[in-house]
């Protein structure tokens, strides 16, 4: 039994992977509450997919992935913003064009015969490939993101509750939302190393789904989200270690399981219609 628990703690690689996953959980678990409150799942997904070329370029150049992720996310955000402005097309289609182009560019750069084949890790995550420097960078960004969430806590609450009325309270809802998007972009850039461009959405969406509507305050929702995210991350890594599946995908599956469990529990407690929406 002890071996079961200490196995993953023995090698440096696994210890770093565990630490990475814990860091991710501490940043993205709380953020997940705001992603849900502000309906940011689609934007999160398009940021995560759109940054793929940046990751590939960093990988080809031997640069730290976090640099590629940060650059990629910035370009993706601008591209989606510009494309979505065209009223003839609509943001749904515009985002699909950007993502298709990004996937294509990532695949193009990564799948040439002479290119090193790291595309799997960039797509599905590679917690075991995290270096001490990567961890330090992730830790610093996670701290910055966490600090931003703390400072933005009250405005986010007010705007999520009543965006129309927040203006009269002395807030600028547009700016609050923009700040949240910046934190989101940072979180995506940090988390993509562990979970990959295709799976990172899980850690931004599953924790809030697992926690559901049963919380009494945003603060508690965020704490619960952190617990779910960290727990799922650890469970995922342990199962990957003992059962041999890919580490990033295992963490993603654990997160999905947590979300499904939380949704089912919510259904049991309240079998009636979904929560009332104001007209």
């Amino acid at each position: 039994m002890i071996d079961f628990l200490t196995g993953p703690l023995e090698s440096g690689i696994d210890r770093r992977a565990l630490l990475e996953v814990v860091l991710l959980g501490l940043l993205c678990g709380p953020l997940s509450f705001w992603v849900r409150s502000f309906r940011l799942a689609y934007p999160s997904e398009s940021l995560a997919h759109g940054l793929l070329p940046g990751l590939v370029l960093a990988s080809l150049a031997g640069a730290p992935l976090i640099v590629g992720a940060a650059g990629g996310v910035a370009v993706a955000a601008v591209a989606v913003a510009i494309a979505s402005r065209d009223r003839r097309i609509g943001s749904d289609t515009a985002t699909a064009v950007v993502v298709s182009g990004a996937f294509g560019l990532g695949g193009l750069l990564a799948l040439r015969p002479d290119a090193p084949a790291r595309l799997e890790e960039l797509l599905f995550g590679d917690p075991l490939g995290v270096s001490a420097a990567d961890l330090a960078a992730a830790g610093a960004l996670a701290l910055a993101g966490g600090a931003a969430l703390a400072v933005l806590h009250r405005p986010l609450t007010a705007v999520a509750f009543d965006a129309g009325g927040a203006g009269a309270l002395g807030l600028r809802p547009g700016r609050v939302r923009l700040a949240l998007l910046l934190v989101l972009a940072t979180a995506v850039a940090v988390a993509v190393q562990g979970l990959g461009s295709l799976l990172v959405l899980a850690v931004l969406v599953a924790p809030a789904m697992a926690v559901g509507d049963r919380v009494r305050s945003p603060g508690r929702a965020m704490a619960a989200g952190a617990a779910v995210a960290v727990g799922a991350g650890v469970v995922g890594l342990y199962s990957s270690f003992h059962l041999g599946g890919a580490a990033g995908a295992s963490v993603a599956l654990a997160l999905c399981a947590a979300a499904a469990g939380g949704a089912a529990l919510g259904r049991l407690r309240r079998p009636a219609a979904p929560p009332p929406r104001a007209a």
């Binding site: 009543d162 129309g164 309270l169």
Partner: protein, 249 residues
């Protein structure tokens, strides 16, 4: 007493042609103004302009401080995890949103919740309150803002009689404190209880004491076909009017 709120030749819009033109009125501190008009007639536009949310095209607005706004309770989210006290506390955000709430802010929020008659319900989730209670919580939030001018958007719409009574009594208190209230409403008869009435229909139709303003001609110019007017009767019974209410879905 000087005017707490003075508007001169206001024209406002959302880009393109102004949807509200030629508004001029003034309200003294401690007075109440009822804003009447059909949906789309400019009541919301006027409030937005007074809140500084519209770059108004022309005209002059002079206000004591920044006004507080009480929206219709239906517009806030019912499934967001905040208690009545949390909502009231949001009134203390202005100018210090990046800092946590102070103890004095919490005290003021608690006092405001009590003042609107919801003592004991501070920690109830907002979504679990009745419509009238939710409206009162939003008023408490405006009280915490401690504004001299309050803009209230149909505060009695769809509110149960007990809450309506509390709210109306509160208006009297706020008047006595020297605050100025602008209340938009569809209740033409209820407007007679206010100090002044402002009738809007894409422009200013009339402004003044209710006895002067609320005659058949003004009401028809304001509401057009949306009004049922019962003409003045014998023995000096005044013109009575009922506006047709449209509910937004």
């Amino acid at each position: 007493m000087s005017a707490a709120l003075a508007v001169e030749g206001l024209s406002a819009g959302y880009g393109g042609d102004p949807v509200l033109t030629g508004v001029s009125f003034a309200a003294e501190a401690g007075s109440t103004v009822c804003v009447l008009g059909p949906n789309g007639g400019g009541k919301t536009t006027l409030f937005r302009a007074l809140l500084g949310q519209l770059p108004h095209t022309e005209g002059d607005i002079r206000l004591q401080g920044h006004p507080a706004h009480v929206a219709q309770a239906a517009h806030a989210r019912l499934d967001f995890p905040v208690s009545a006290l949390d909502v009231a506390l949001m009134g203390s955000l202005a100018g210090r949103w990046w800092l946590p709430a102070r103890r004095s802010d919490r005290e003021r929020a608690r006092a405001a919740v009590e003042r609107v008659g919801l003592a004991g319900l501070e920690h109830t989730p907002y979504g679990a309150l009745s419509g009238g209670q939710r409206q009162r919580v939003l008023i408490a939030r405006a009280l915490v803002q401690d504004a001299q001018v309050l803009l209230l958007d149909e505060p009695l719409a769809g509110v149960d009689p007990a809450s309506a009574e509390t709210i109306t009594a509160l208006f009297a208190d706020l008047r006595a404190e020297g605050r100025t209230l602008l209340v938009s409403s569809h209740d033409v008869e209820g407007a007679r209880a206010f100090d002044s009435v402002l009738c809007l229909n894409r422009g200013q139709v009339a402004f003044g004491p209710p006895a002067e303003v609320l005659d058949a001609r003004v009401l028809e110019a304001t509401y057009g076909h949306e009004l049922i007017v019962i003409p003045a009767g014998e023995g000096g019974r005044p013109v009575r009017a009922v506006a047709v209410q449209h509910h937004e879905h």
